[in-house]
């Protein structure tokens, strides 16, 4: 093969199926005899369930099953097992499912839900994280002490604190004592919805012998299987989870969602398959979100811009459950001062329960949120001490030899945050912010911000890959990492093609995921997919190469060491005209006389995170990061200094991806991520009424960016190879959206001097600040 496979913009796998409407999502799947489920939702943020009367619903013709929390004595959850399938005894948020129906049609199911009568007694609700941590706050989970959790999490019984991560480095008291300036600020941001275009949907079919088959719009088939097995006390091997095309995830389909409910409904409906589809309104009301965050940052800094001490408090608004939220708190804390070296750090990050829809993973896993505070604080500090926002970042940015807040030493193989920053500053001509060409009352502003993130996952996260030959010498690659739009499968096919020197279109990546037939993968999350599955796929390819050589060595009459793989053939190194093709070896090699050797070839590779450690619970010291991807944005804005209206003119975004396996798909991730971050920055956010009702529960009220909203964007790929990444690659799925709100806030501050500390950055808030400054 002469063509360079790695770095090439190979066309996306399954694009044809998607563009013709042929791709079948769970939304599109019907199983014979299938029933339709519908949930009854709580109208209250916090209330005791006095009574549920399902008599009328049960007697409605066409209704097969009606369930309430009383019949479902299970808890489900990823890290902290705190989720009810249906509310038991009390409801903890408006939108919480209290009962569910399975019926022959959607219409009957809906009618039956209307017939369910629920009597509530309202309880005091707590909606604000700062109030929720006060001593006399109403408790969201009274039984917090009894809940199961992974050993690295520490719920505090008798409080609303589901977890507390502490990071301690150096001595902040001494640091602040020496600092020339101490600057303290508070920052907030609201909950945000993933708004994947396909809402959550699942089908379950209960089978004799306590078995179940599930089709689900999920990111992680094995996590669904594992959590379902644990939650419902089933055997892992009795659960089959199928994931076909998935219409977007962004973290919102990680972990487990409505699979336990449909499983229980199918069981109650004598094994009829049961499908549940969230309406968009339910998706907003009852499906978990990105957590809100309150941050308090106190920074000690010297006149020259060196940050000498940092004290940080993060209070995460986890809503009513924290099964996933506890790990957001932990992971974000490990990145909690940004990509900077600060000698003295005291950081406390707490997951706090409130009576709102609960939090889960969302692209960036807490990092967009903390970087809102960190990168806004950086500009506020710079302004206060009169130094350029660029210079203060260059002064404190991580370099080879730096030590992170968890004690990790930055080495040659790490990415370069300063290089990314330099690139974006150059691209937006950062030093030049002349406004002379603008109409009166308009001011130009420019901002920069950096970002970093490592995968957040258990220390022993693993994955595996299978390769098998087809009769014609093509390959099937099977992984249970899912591809719901990232393009990872295309990159994996390129890796196999490169390793085995064959055309990429002869590598068929099996699309539909199935826990029965595919090798394990922990979860498709954390931007670890290409890194870990890529390494597993390299190993599987090497295994296959070895097997090909072993079989070929006999008919070619030479030792394995003398063979090379080239152009879909096994060749003798010094006599390249002597070879056997893959096709001849695929199902076993057959001699002229009919004798055969080898057999159908199958290969495997696996990968497990290397060297990660649990963090010390008191100091947070340890190694939490498989790899850090660094990046930076530069932004130019024009702001109306009277009204606070603003226009984002240009965004430049650079990421040190180590090595871009597929450039076009990397750019696709950057464009998509930046615009998702742009939504968070300037328009998105949950709003609640005073009694905890969600006010933004439709696309009419909750706006996301449209094609008319996108500013000019310059994606920049930086490539400093990661030693243990496949071909040097790092993940870049989440990173593009990180720090987008911060950089826009910074640019607006630069333009007209307003100190924005609340997200989203909207004209209303800028105007308030303009008025306050008058």
């Amino acid at each position: 093969m002469t063509e360079e496979m790695i770095g090439k913009s190979v066309k996306r796998i399954k694009a044809l199926e998607k563009v013709t409407g042929n791709a079948k999502f769970v939304h599109d799947i019907e199983i014979q005899g299938m029933l339709h489920a519908k949930m009854k939702l709580s109208p209250h943020a916090h209330a005791k369930i006095v009574n549920i009367d399902t008599t009328k619903a049960k007697s409605l013709p066409g209704v097969w099953a009606v369930l309430t929390g009383k019949e479902l004595p299970y808890k489900v959850g990823l890290y902290l097992v705190d989720k009810d399938i249906l509310a038991v005894n009390k409801v903890r948020y408006q939108g919480e499912p209290v009962a569910a129906v399975a019926a022959e049609t959607k219409e009957i199911a809906e009618k039956a839900v209307e017939l369910i009568e629920v009597e509530y007694k309202k309880l005091d609700a707590v909606l604000d994280v700062q109030k929720a941590v006060e001593e006399d706050a109403p408790l969201v989970h009274e039984n917090l002490g009894e809940l199961e959790s992974a050993p690295v999490f520490f719920p505090k019984p008798g409080t609303n604190i589901a977890h507390h991560t502490k990071i301690r480095k150096g001595d902040t008291e001494k640091g602040f004592a020496k600092a020339d300036h101490i600057i303290e600020n508070e920052f907030t941001l609201p909950m945000v919805d993933h708004t994947a275009m396909e809402t959550h949907t699942s089908i379950a079919e209960w089978k004799p012998g306590r078995k179940v088959k599930i089709w689900t719009s999920a990111q992680s088939p094995f996590a669904v299987r594992n959590l379902l097995a644990n939650g419902l006390h089933l055997n892992h091997e009795d659960i089959e989870v199928i994931v076909p095309y998935v219409g977007g995830g962004f973290g919102g389909k990680a972990g487990i969602h409505f699979e336990p409910l449909v499983t229980c409904l199918s069981r109650a409906a004598d094994g009829r398959p049961v499908k549940i589809v969230m309406s968009r309104e339910e998706e907003f009301n009852s499906v978990p979100v990105r957590q809100g965050l309150y941050s308090r940052l106190k920074t000690g800094v010297n006149d020259d811009g060196e940050i000498v001490a940092q004290e940080t408090e993060f209070l995460w608004d986890s809503g009513a459950n924290a099964d996933y939220g506890v790990n957001v708190t932990r992971a974000a804390a490990t990145a909690g001062v940004g990509p900077y070296e600060i000698k003295n750090v005291k950081l406390d990050s707490k997951t706090v329960y409130t009576n709102k829809i609960f939090g889960t993973a969302y692209r960036g896993f807490g990092h967009l949120e903390i970087l809102w505070a960190i990168e806004r604080q950086m500009d506020l500090v710079a302004k206060e001490i009169g130094i350029s926002p660029y210079d203060i970042r260059m002064k404190n940015g991580l370099d080879v030899g730096s030590v992170t807040i968890t004690g990790e030493h930055i080495g040659e193989s790490h990415g370069r945050v300063k290089e990314c920053l330099r690139e974006v500053a150059k691209e937006i001509d950062f030093e030049n912010r002349d406004s002379d060409d603008l109409p009166e009352g308009k001011k130009r502003g420019k901002g920069v911000a950096t970002l970093h993130k490592a995968p957040a996952m258990p220390t022993n996260t693993g994955t595996a890959a299978f390769l098998k030959f087809n009769e014609n010498g093509t390959l099937n690659l099977t992984v249970s990492l899912t591809d719901y739009g990232q393009g990872t499968y295309t990159a994996l096919a390129q890796i196999v093609a490169d390793q085995l020197d064959m055309p990429v279109d002869k590598v068929n990546v099996v699309w539909e995921n199935n826990t029965e037939t595919e090798p394990y993968d922990w979860q498709t999350v954390a931007s670890k997919g290409l890194f870990m599955s890529g390494n597993a796929v390299i190993k599987a390819s090497q295994d296959m190469a070895q097997q090909l050589k072993e079989v070929a060595s006999e008919p070619l009459r030479c030792s394995v060491e003398d063979l090379v793989i080239e152009d879909e053939k096994v060749k003798v190194r010094h006599h390249l005209d002597k070879y056997i093709s893959f096709k001849e070896l695929a199902m076993g090699y057959t001699y002229e006389n009919g004798n055969a050797i080898g057999g159908p070839l199958v290969a495997r590779g696996n990968y497990i995170a290397q060297g990660l450690t649990n963090l010390d619970p008191e100091t947070g010291q340890g190694l939490p990061a498989l790899d850090w991807t660094y990046g930076a944005h530069g932004v130019e804005v024009i702001v109306d200094e009277d009204t606070g209206e603003f226009e984002v003119v240009k965004i430049a975004s650079a990421f040190d991806v180590g090595k871009a396996i597929n450039k076009e798909n990397v750019i696709g991730q950057i464009q998509g991520g930046v615009i998702q971050g742009y939504g968070s920055a300037v328009m998105e956010g949950y709003q609640f009424s005073e009694d905890g009702r969600l006010l933004t529960n439709t696309f009419t009220d909750y706006k996301v960016p449209s094609i008319a909203d996108i500013p000019e964007l310059k994606p920049i790929i930086v490539e400093n190879a990661q030693e243990d990444g496949p071909y040097g690659a790092r993940g870049v799925a989440e990173h593009p959206m990180l720090s987008i709100p911060s950089v826009i806030g910074n640019a607006v501050q630069d333009a007209i001097g307003v100190k924005i500390k609340e997200m989203p950055v909207i004209p209303e808030k800028i105007f308030e600040l303009i008025e306050a400054n008058k």
Partner: protein
């Protein structure tokens, strides 16, 4: 119940529908054209976009009975056998597809646009497609795909 007659992708259909049935549901569940998706059910996201009598519409807020006598085009009618349309080709070439859930609606909105305006400006594209939400791509590649499709169509005409 009402009996309606209409065509979908040029094929004649006569079927009985309930007064309160939604066009999208009939297309998806009765006729099994599942290419059009329900993303919101309220005409806000464009995933259910089909072309009705030459105009792009959100089929989730149209009654099936209202389609009586009309000609409907869906994504399934955009390719014939192995042949895909210029627009579909352009979407693939520009990498304008990620998860794929919004794609059928995007393609249909693009077709309606190019049918009435073969050479759209950026603003025309924004007006025609701002009712189609895509959460994956950031839209840059989609805008490029529309332009490339327009070029292809222009190319084939001249």
């Amino acid at each position: 119940m009402k009996t309606i007659n209409f065509t979908v992708n040029g094929r004649n259909y006569k079927l009985d529908v309930k007064d309160n049935e939604i066009l999208l549901d009939v297309l998806r569940e009765k006729l099994h054209f599942t290419g059009a998706k329900e993303g919101c059910g309220e005409g806000e996201c464009g995933a259910c976009t089909v072309i009705m009598d030459g105009k792009a519409v959100t089929s989730c807020i149209i009654l099936a009975v209202e389609a009586d006598g009309s000609d409907i085009e869906t994504i399934e009618g955009q390719s014939v056998g192995e042949e895909i349309s210029d627009i579909q080709e352009a979407f693939i070439e520009e990498n304008a597809i990620q998860c794929g859930f919004c794609t059928p609606g995007m393609v249909m909105s693009t077709k309606a646009l190019l049918d009435r305006n073969p050479d759209p400006s950026d603003e025309d594209i924004d007006i025609a497609l701002s009712g189609n939400i895509c959460r994956c791509t950031g839209y840059y590649s989609i805008r490029n795909a529309v332009k490339r499709a327009a070029e292809k169509k222009g190319g084939s005409q001249s």
